[in-house]
Amino acid sequence: MNKKNNIMFEVKDLEVSYGSIKAIKGISIQVAKGEIVTILGANGAGKTTTLRTISRLHDPNAGTILFKGEDITTTPAHKIVSMGISHSPEGRRIFGILTVEENLILGSYSQKSTDKKTLNWVYDLFPRLAERKRQLAGTLSGGEQQMLAIGRALMSRPEMLLLDEPSLGLAPILVKAIFKTVKEIAHSGVTVLLVEQNAKAALKLADRAYVLEVGKLVLSGTSKELLASEKIQEAYLGKKRK
């Protein structure tokens, strides 16, 4: 699956600080075209910081970010999405006082105009959004807001989708539904980099995983390997050592 020559996205020796606090202490990540890769880690591990740095909302202190062979380490944030990377951020960050459809249309701001086909594709993926297109986004339920955040990110027709904790605060049944849709999105040809605390669900979905602990990568491998790893079972899947 992760053939080296198929590498689409790469982070090399990334370091990020907030003032004097080092949040990311030199991590390297590779994602091949078509993969679903997940970054796991506890609260404060640096998952969100990593994604925000990739989207250029943050400047790294060191390291490089490469996408399709191009160095995007210093590309301005607003140009990232038109290069093919779209980000559904932590906390959803939908535009609450705008309607559902206005949110989706903003998702396609990087395109010249909003493609009807893409809009219909998103509505097909999330029929709930179609029913509520004229509703103010802030009045959606948590799950619906998450759908909107993902749908909005898809409106730019990205090649790679960054998802920051789409399961946060959702009931297990909704998590299942959202992850099923993420799988569908990946099958349609979108590469996915998924950040999660819900390790079990994420490992079931992903091809490969990285485990982040206070700014450092401590483990990586295929999902199968990680699901079987004792360390993961203890720390993230809640299983006790025998």
């Binding site: 960050r93 535009f95 006082i97 705008l98 903003l106 701001y109 990087s110």
Partner: protein, 300 residues
């Protein structure tokens, strides 16, 4: 009853000017959560720039639509550029600084512009010629309406309708609304937030320039420090309407203009300030976010 309608007409005239100026405060606040205290001084400056454009290039021209359009175009461009410079110099470097720093910078910029006007054009009151526009006045059942009043009302309403259309119906307008909600989320959509901020300053100061020229054409006397007076009223109008809310600034400006005219007509113009601030406090007690403020309530 005549005085009622007369003061209504006068109130709508000055209210239009308040509304135009208030839009500059409210749009900048909407995007940057910053009160641009220098806005009123740019409004004052526009009146002086307009007068100089007239004196230099159009001296003696009377009753000329071309002359008036030239004044508005030249002044609008010059003041909008001043707005861009203001944002770059006084606000952009402090984008991530504590809010108080930006407030101090805004007050400093206000003083700099005001003193700049005084240095360039002098401390004495200057006057717009009376005959740039026709001096026609109509008497409609005892209510006097002058040509300039009609111009101010019609032009202001057209500009405001255009602005609402732009904000509500265009792609860039949607980007402006998104930016006013969440800068980072907007960047993720591919919106160049810096460009949106520049655009807001261009639109806001341009509207302010139109307001400043209307002040010159309507009242004729202009003063280097008049920005504080008009700026304060427009700022109050923006708060009454709900700061950050564009239709709110329009409604707030009109209401405040009418209110002020009625105080002047029925009580005394010397009391206008006291009554205005009493009204402001009363409105804020009943509706802390202003008349139309619920739409800008902090997001969840």
């Amino acid at each position: 009853m005549d005085i009622f309608f007369q003061q209504l007409v006068n109130g709508l005239t000055i209210g239009s000017i308040f509304a135009l100026v208030a839009l500059g405060y409210t749009m900048v606040y909407g995007i940057m959560k910053l009160i641009n205290f220098a806005h009123g001084d740019l409004v004052a400056m526009s009146a002086f720039v307009g007068l100089s454009v007239y004196d230099q290039f159009l001296g003696g021209t009377t009753n000329s639509l071309v002359a008036v359009l030239t004044i508005f175009a030249a002044t609008g461009v010059i003041i909008a550029m001043a707005g861009i410079i203001l944002e770059r110099v006084a606000y952009r470097p402090l984008r991530n600084a504590p809010r108080l720093s930006a407030v101090v910078s805004a007050l400093g910029a206000s003083l700099v512009i005001q003193n700049g006007i005084m240095l360039i054009w002098g401390p004495r009151m200057r006057f717009f010629p009376a005959d740039i526009l026709p001096a026609t006045t109509w008497n409609i059942g005892g209510v006097y309406i002058s040509f300039i009043q009609v111009v101010i009302l019609v032009v202001s309403l057209l500009i405001m309708a255009g602005l609402i259309f732009f904000i509500d119906k265009t792609r860039v307008g949607a980007a402006i609304r998104a930016t006013s909600i969440d800068h980072d989320a907007s960047r993720l959509m591919g919106i160049d937030v810096n460009r949106i901020i520049t655009l807001i300053f261009v639109i806001g100061t341009f509207l302010g320039a139109v307001g400043g020229l209307f002040i010159g054409l309507y009242y004729r006397g202009i003063n280097f420090n008049m920005g504080w007076n008009y700026g304060l009223y427009a700022f109050v109008a923006a708060i009454i309407g709900g700061i950050g809310n564009i239709p709110g600034a329009m409604v707030g400006g009109m209401l405040l203009g009418i209110f002020k005219a009625f105080i002047a007509g029925y009580v005394s113009s010397t009391w206008a300030d006291a009554f205005t601030f009493t009204l402001l406090i009363a409105i804020l007690v009943v509706r802390p976010t202003g008349i139309m403020g619920e739409r800008v309530a902090e997001k969840v």
